[in-house]
């Protein structure tokens, strides 16, 4: 056990920190509330800069334009991005999930065609997985593709599609054989979102934003060379993609939580309670300390998991505890923030009385999505029960 960074890891951090210091745009905070389209172009420009600096796709092998970074270097990357207050990358799904899937399962021609434009954010990707009737039970999805000559013809609907409104391409899971058990008849296709028959409708969420879309496919023709992996073996490909979802990105999330925590502690010295500051109120102190401790434990759990992956080479189902931990923790922290701020916690960014430009009101509402997106807490507990503890399947 040695929690100190190696000389190589320190060198990596030093180099990255220097680069970020010189390149992270100073006006990001002012741009956050820009209209969706303007904001997106800003993030595209930022990713382009990272790409030119050699920092896009750091986990990707060098031969595909990535940096071939070790797992710990990826952890450091996300920590430093968060520490520097860097904007997110426009093509996050392509870099984190879809690119690695094509690298693992795609043909040489697919790699050649798609990967570099992912890195440069020239082509934005979305993911067509969930459907109105296939959420947690993803394998029951109904969007169908039938073979017609050199094409697949796709009909159906996807939902909760992040970046659907701006996506140029979509990693789409479809049913190619309805006559076999549900996991056996799926195929992954790469679909041009500008194809005739694709229509996108923004899905407005409880925060008021539209991060997600509904995507409709009506007789959409997809060339057969756009199949990823083998026909009817799309479940393995899709699971491969989802395994990346529990990757190193959480290291940056932990830094963001810690930054929120530091801000709450700062606010506790300003908020008045019964003639003294909230920081002097024993009950508030208990709650803040609990949050602080759990955010630290989130980091320690991550570091143990990353250490294990760096030895075994594969992310294990233990990743499920990370998902439960960060999502439920954020809900608790957001609730403590609301208690600390009292009625001010509810104020929107448009109110001149709002604390931190309404970030806590937004954070509170947004946190409800945390225990649902990327696998509900219930599904994560099923995964732990069955795959980690070896209990019988419950469904």
């Amino acid at each position: 056990m040695d929690l100190n960074l190696t000389a190589e890891e320190s060198q990596f951090r030093h180099e990255l920190r220097g680069w970020l210091k010189a390149h992270v745009p100073a006006d990001w905070n002012a741009k956050r509330d820009d209209p969706l389209e303007t904001r997106f172009e800003y993030l595209r420009t930022w990713q382009r800069q990272l790409f030119e600096g050699g920092w896009a796709g750091i986990s990707w092998p060098k031969q595909y334009g990535g940096r071939g970074a070790s797992l710990m270097q990826q952890v450091i990357f996300w920590q430093e991005m968060a520490l520097a207050g860097a904007p997110p990358m426009a093509n996050a799904l392509a870099l984190g999930l879809i690119g690695p899937t094509i690298i693992a399962f795609g043909t040489a021609a697919q790699k050649q065609r798609y990967l570099s434009k992912m890195l440069s954010a020239e082509e934005i990707w979305c993911q067509g997985f969930s459907e109105p009737n296939a959420g947690s039970d993803l394998a029951s999805l109904q969007t169908a593709a039938r073979r017609e000559g050199d094409f697949y013809v796709v009909n159906g609907q996807k939902t909760w599609t992040s970046y659907g409104w701006i996506g140029d391409w979509c990693e789409l899971v479809v049913r190619t054989d309805p006559n076999v058990p549900k996991h056996k008849g799926l195929t992954v296709l790469l679909v041009d979102m500008k194809s005739p028959g694709v229509s996108v409708r923004p899905l407005r969420q409880m925060t008021g934003e539209s991060e997600f879309s509904e995507v409709f496919f009506q007789d959409v023709r997809v060339p057969v060379e756009n199949v990823v992996g083998e026909v009817n073996q799309g479940w393995e490909v899709a699971i491969g993609t989802l395994m990346h979802e529990r990757g190193t990105f959480g290291a940056g999330l932990q830094i963001i939580y810690r930054r929120n925590m530091d801000r709450l502690i700062e606010l506790s010295h300003e908020v008045e309670r019964n003639g003294r500051t909230a920081a002097q109120d024993p009950l508030v102190r208990q709650k803040l300390a609990q949050c602080y401790a759990e955010i630290e434990i989130m980091r320690l759990n991550q570091m143990r998991a990353f250490s294990r992956i760096s030895v075994t080479g594969v992310p294990g189902p233990e990743g499920s505890i990370q998902k439960i931990f960060w999502s439920e923790l954020n809900q608790r922290v957001q609730q403590v923030a609301q208690e600390l701020l009292g009625p001010y916690g509810q104020l929107a960014s448009s109110s001149s009385y709002a604390v931190d430009k309404g970030a806590w009101a937004y954070g509170y509402l947004r946190s409800r999505g945390n225990t649902i997106e990327a696998g509900t807490s219930e599904i994560q507990r099923n995964i732990i029960g069955h795959f980690v503890l070896g209990l019988p399947r419950s469904y």
Binding site: R285, Q286, I297, R299, F306, I384
Partner: protein, 375 residues
């Protein structure tokens, strides 16, 4: 960065597990639980022969000179086996305090016999009106080298050869059979680690050092206790998962029901999170002294709540069986409650964390960059 165990640490942990499984199986734990003091001289000699009693103390006092992480691994396995008796009190409490505050000559006199397995000891700190972490010694006072006062919840005092006592004016060593020492059992939940009220009435005592130097020693003991709690949680989890796989209702194993599965998943989450916190606290005590106190309090805070909830869930999943005397769960559950409060419960440690991270404004923000320098 590598937050896994080294090969030698894996071997130490594995050996300890096998040793306790062989020398201290549950039927033996149950026998000792009936004895009051829960002390077994034969088991003690065997543990000493393994080097356990001197594990973290310097070789010049006949110890093994290993790290706090090594102690934590040993304690985790002791917790898994629910090892009764004064190991925690002697090594993690008294030994670390003596090592921290005493002179070289005193260490030869008090610490070396502990390392060699010849002496057992404990720390008497808690007293009415002055709980854990009151370094001023409470109302117990030393006048002309003689102690008067009463200490409570002193673990394993009955079988100790000498006691380490905090009092106004410092930390003292008192022989168990010295004049004016009265040891009275405080019968409590935990049947495998007895606690006592210890009265001193004008009792001769030898000053070992100042209480201000024992902060780190108490943190080492606290981390060791957390590790022992982790071992107990792991055992409750293992027993519960095993039960959920074999117990059948409605024609299938109850572990196939999500209401049961999710209890087990939460037990897993709480156990692993406690383990992460315990290992880091131990590592910080060895390598990152500036952050060690916070790390220890985070670990004790989290594990204090977790060991209770893991026990609650384990008993619930066991149904009626979990409520019986014959099932082992209650023995772990009793220990868990005692450990939850010993050296400060979650509320105590949350306040300590608050003092460390809220009362020093600005400090926590600066530290955010440093956090990334390790791990």
């Amino acid at each position: 960065m590598q937050f896994g165990l080294s090969e030698s640490q894996e071997i130490l942990k594995d050996n300890a597990r096998k040793f306790f499984a062989g020398e201290c199986p549950m039927n033996h734990v149950r026998q000792l639980a009936e004895t009051g003091s829960a002390y077994d001289a034969d088991l003690w000699s065997k543990m000493a022969a393994q080097g356990f009693t001197g594990i973290i103390f310097p070789e010049k006092y006949d110890g093994l000179g290993l790290s706090v992480v090594d102690l934590i691994l040993l304690m985790e396995e002791a917790g898994r086996a629910l090892v009764p008796g004064p190991f925690f009190a002697t090594v993690a409490l008294a030994g670390t305090v003596i090592d921290a505050v005493a002179t070289d000559a005193q260490k030869k006199e008090y610490l070396a016999p502990i390392c060699r397995g010849e002496a057992r000891s404990t720390v008497a700190e808690f007293e009415a009106g002055a709980g854990w972490g009151t370094r001023d010694g409470g109302k117990t006072a030393a006048v002309n080298g003689r102690l008067t006062g009463e200490k409570l919840f002193v673990p394993d005092a009955e079988v100790a050869d000498f006691l380490v006592v905090t009092a106004a004016g410092g930390v003292f060593a008192v022989q168990r059979n010295a004049p004016g020492v009265t040891v009275t059992p405080m019968p409590a939940m935990d049947l495998t680690r007895a606690v006592y009220a210890v009265r001193f009435d004008n009792t001769p005592a030898e000053k070992l050092g100042d209480a201000s130097s024992m902060e780190r020693a108490t943190d080492v003991a606290t981390a060791a206790l957390v590790a022992e709690m982790v071992g107990g949680m792991q055992r409750i989890l293992d027993l519960t998962v095993e039960y959920a796989k074999t117990r059948k209702q409605y024609g299938k194993a109850i572990g196939a029901f999500q209401a049961v599965q999710h209890q087990c998943a939460d037990m897993y989450l709480e156990t692993e999170s406690s383990r992460s916190a315990a290992y880091y606290a131990a590592w910080a005590l060895d390598h990152d002294p500036a952050n060690a106190a916070t790390a220890v309090s985070i670990a004790k805070m989290y594990a204090s709540d977790a060991c209770r909830t893991v026990g609650n869930r384990g008993i619930q999943v066991h149904g009626g069986m979990g409520f019986t005397w014959e099932n082992d769960l209650h023995l772990y559950y009793r220990r868990a409650k005692a450990s939850e409060t010993m050296l400060g419960d979650a509320t105590f440690h949350r306040e300590r964390i608050a003092r460390l991270v809220i009362d020093a404004p600005g400090a926590q923000s600066q530290k955010l960059h440093e956090v990334c320098e390790t791990a």
